[in-house]
Amino acid sequence: MSKAVAHADHGHADAQHAHHPALQHHFDTMAQQKEAAVIGMWVFLLTEILFFGGLFVAYMIYRVWYFDAFAEASRSLDLFWGGLNTAVLIFSSLTMALAVRAAQTNKRKATVNWLILTMILGCVFLGVKVVEYADKFEHHHVPGPNYVWAEPGHEAAPGSEHANLSLTPAQLQNTTQIYFSLYFTMTGLHALHMIIGVGLMLVITWMAWKGKFDAEYYTPVEMSGLYWHFVDIVWIFLFPLLYLVERP
């Protein structure tokens, strides 16, 4: 044949050291396996970037077309909860990074503790979202047949009487629905990713508790960390786009 003039003698256990129990047979070294995992995880995160990206396209176009509707609807969101959630998520990224670091430095208990803290913060985020969604449901701000932007006698958004709007109430009734369609789809999808993230953390925490990680092999912790940080990054963009269109 035209290839492979010489063959490497590939013994299953190198002379230098017996291979790590977590080394899969089709990889040569732990380094190769870890690098493959990192690239693979980032390729997956690329798909997530493009996934949320489609929603950003829709948002971008409608924000320009119906800026006043977006501004009005954005003002109807409670900045306190949005800001709190942002802080919670950023803090959870810190705890996640510290969890990975604890795994890197072979500290099993610390790894578990930081992971648990991350999960708690994730659940706080989700709880706040429930509060926000409930408020929106109450005000009939869920798009669809029962949508009502401004109930008679009610001020839909604080400060709206000061706004110089170019849209009539009838137009607002329709175009704010587009805002909320995007609001619920974007935050809903984000929340779904958070739920999956918390589930992922549960599994990783259990594995850490069982002592499956050490300084040589903590890849699942790091991969989960990448996912968690990504979900944080999405919120870093969602927050100003949804809550801070125009204040007051």
Binding site: K3, A4, D9, H10, E35, V43, G53, V57, A58, T185
Partner: protein, 541 residues
């Protein structure tokens, strides 16, 4: 030293028996075989819908089925053929089987994710086929809003959900290939020693990973609009239906490159092996695959010239669409130059390759007609478009798939099929294909719209020719099922390298061992070098 060839004692097919050993396998080769069976079933289903279409169109009146039913026929034909046959076909079957040995690896980077992608494909298929059994969808495979989001009362959500799920299968396959090709190459296997099949699949994987998520989110938006009454595409609330088209085609145009690039990769292998010559301009062909992948992402709005986009945007996308033809042309020129003064032969895989070159050329050139703004206003939504994309998808992609299947069948099964019947089938496919689709250029040019179940009487002759051609084509696809299955038990034993090819997979036994290579190969030579192979054939070595 001509020992009588025997099937090796141990290989991947008999390494473990029983359903569990297959359903829980991590072997990329077994996963490839399971994909082969699955997509063949899908091809048959899609073909049955095609049969329904051609039966209706044999007469000018809409007399075979109602208009609504006809709408469902072409929708299901498109959905199944695009998402469940063409997009997985070569990557999931041939790519899965061959990429690890071609680069000298034992398996893909993530074997369990490979298996997961198969399960996900099955689940997606169940959703879509289930929706079909419930009564199907009538929007066309393109699901344009606002008909799909607000007006149609067919089973769009389960169908779209099936496509969404199958999209993940595609993403995982692409992800696996990218990491594998980057990090699992054998020592000495540099990028420019890779077979062009691998380059083509790398480019395809980029598209799968970057494009598929956008149709996923489009389906999510369609879902929330239908299920909850959200108004992202609803014109009565200020939404823009054309936005759906932008997001849909951002994936679906690169998707057609997912379908053709792997076939282009197969072609490079076939042309080289069956002319016993190094591919002319190897690096140009390699880079052209990447160029097609990247350029393919910036031309999507050529599907929307008459949808309501601005003239300025139309001009930009028209210009870019012309430029994407260039890398494809580079490949065709380089293959032709490879054939020149090569030791050409006419085995079945090569017959498919010859057919591919002619039909892909016609398909590609007619694409340029459609990229021309003035022409497209006349030709959009006519049978000209239908003929164009079938020339590429069937005359190109499927012939590439069939050529590849026949070429690597001896490697995958250890058996040779009947060369006599396989050549007949290849000729039937070529003749039947042209009889089916050449008339469609003409009826489309004179104005026959697509997706209509009736047409003016004067177009009947051409339509009857087309329907007759479809029968011949169907026969051409049915024959391989018979002789390939026959070969499993009665075919001649193939040996490791029946065609005298030069790439690494041909150094393995046929069928291969589960771990592919007994020892990890070290690569020292360029690809497509045939001196050793030819010398061995002449018993000089």
């Amino acid at each position: 030293m001509l020992d009588k060839l025997k099937i090796p004692e141990h290989h991947y097919l008999n390494n473990g028996h029983g359903l569990k050993s297959w359903l829980l396998t991590k072997d990329h080769k077994r996963i490839a075989i399971m994909y082969l069976i699955s997509i063949s079933v899908m091809f048959l289903l899609g073909g049955l819908f095609a049969m329904g279409i051609r039966l209706e169109l044999a007469t000018p009146q809409g007399d075979f089925v109602s208009a609504d039913t006809y709408n469902k026929f072409f929708t299901m034909h498109g959905v199944i053929m695009v998402f469940f046959f063409l997009i997985p076909s070569i990557p999931a079957v041939l790519g899965n089987f061959l990429i690890p040995p071609m680069i000298g690896a034992k398996d893909l980077a993530f074997p369990r994710i490979n298996l997961l992608s198969l399960y996900i494909y099955w689940i997606g298929g169940i959703f879509t086929l289930g929706a079909m059994l419930l009564g199907g969808v009538d929007t066309g495979w393109t699901f344009y809003t606002p008909y799909s989001s607000a007006a149609s009362n067919t089973h769009i959500i389960p169908t779209a959900l099936g496509i969404f799920i199958a999209g993940f299968s595609s993403i995982l396959t692409g992800l696996n290939f990218i990491v594998t090709i980057h990090r699992m190459r054998a020592p000495g296997m540099t990028w420019f020693r890779l077979p062009l099949f691998v380059w083509a699949h790398y480019a395809t994987s980029l598209i799968q990973v970057l494009g598929t998520p956008v149709i996923a989110i489009t389906i999510v938006m369609l879902f929330v609009e239908r299920a909850f009454g959200f108004g992202i595409f609803d014109p009565t609330r200020g939404g823009d239906p054309v936005l759906f088209q932008h997001l849909f085609w951002f994936y679906s145009h690169p998707a057609v490159y997912i379908m053709i690039l792997p076939a282009l990769g197969v072609m490079s292998e076939l042309i080289s092996t069956f002319s016993k010559k190094m591919i002319f301009g190897y690096s140009f062909v390699a880079f052209s695959s990447l160029a097609i992948a990247i350029f393919g992402f910036i031309v999507w709005a050529h599907h929307m010239f008459v949808a309501g986009i601005s003239t300025y945007a139309a001009m930009v996308f028209s210009f870019l669409s012309f430029s994407v033809a260039i890398p494809s042309a580079v490949k065709v020129f380089n293959w032709t130059a490879t054939l020149y003064k090569g030791a050409i032969s006419f085995e079945t895989p090569m017959l498919y390759a010859y057919g591919f070159m002619g039909l892909f050329l016609i398909g590609g050139l007619t694409g340029l007609f459609l990229a021309t703004l003035g022409m497209d206003i006349h030709l959009h939504d006519t049978y000209f478009v239908v003929a164009h994309f079938h020339y590429i998808m069937v005359g190109g992609a499927i012939m590439g798939y069939m050529g590849g299947l026949h070429y690597w069948w001896p490697k995958m099964t250890g058996r040779m099929y009947s060369e006599f019947f396989s050549r007949i089938a290849a000729i039937l496919v070529f003749v039947g294909f042209n009889l089916t689709f050449l008339p469609q250029f003409i009826v489309g040019y004179v104005g026959m719209p697509r997706r209509y179940h009736s047409y003016p009487d004067e177009m009947q002759v051409l339509n009857v020719l087309s329907s007759a051609g479809a029968s011949v084509l169907g026969l051409g696809y049915a024959l391989p099922v018979i002789y390939l299955l026959w070969s499993l038990k009665r075919g001649a034993v193939a040996g490791p390298n029946p065609f005298g090819a030069s790439t690494l997979e041909w150094t393995m036994q046929s069928p291969p061992l589960t771990e592919n290579f007994v020892e990890v190969p070290i690569v020292t030579s360029e690809p497509y070098e045939y001196e050793h192979v030819v010398a061995k054939e002449k018993h000089l070595v």
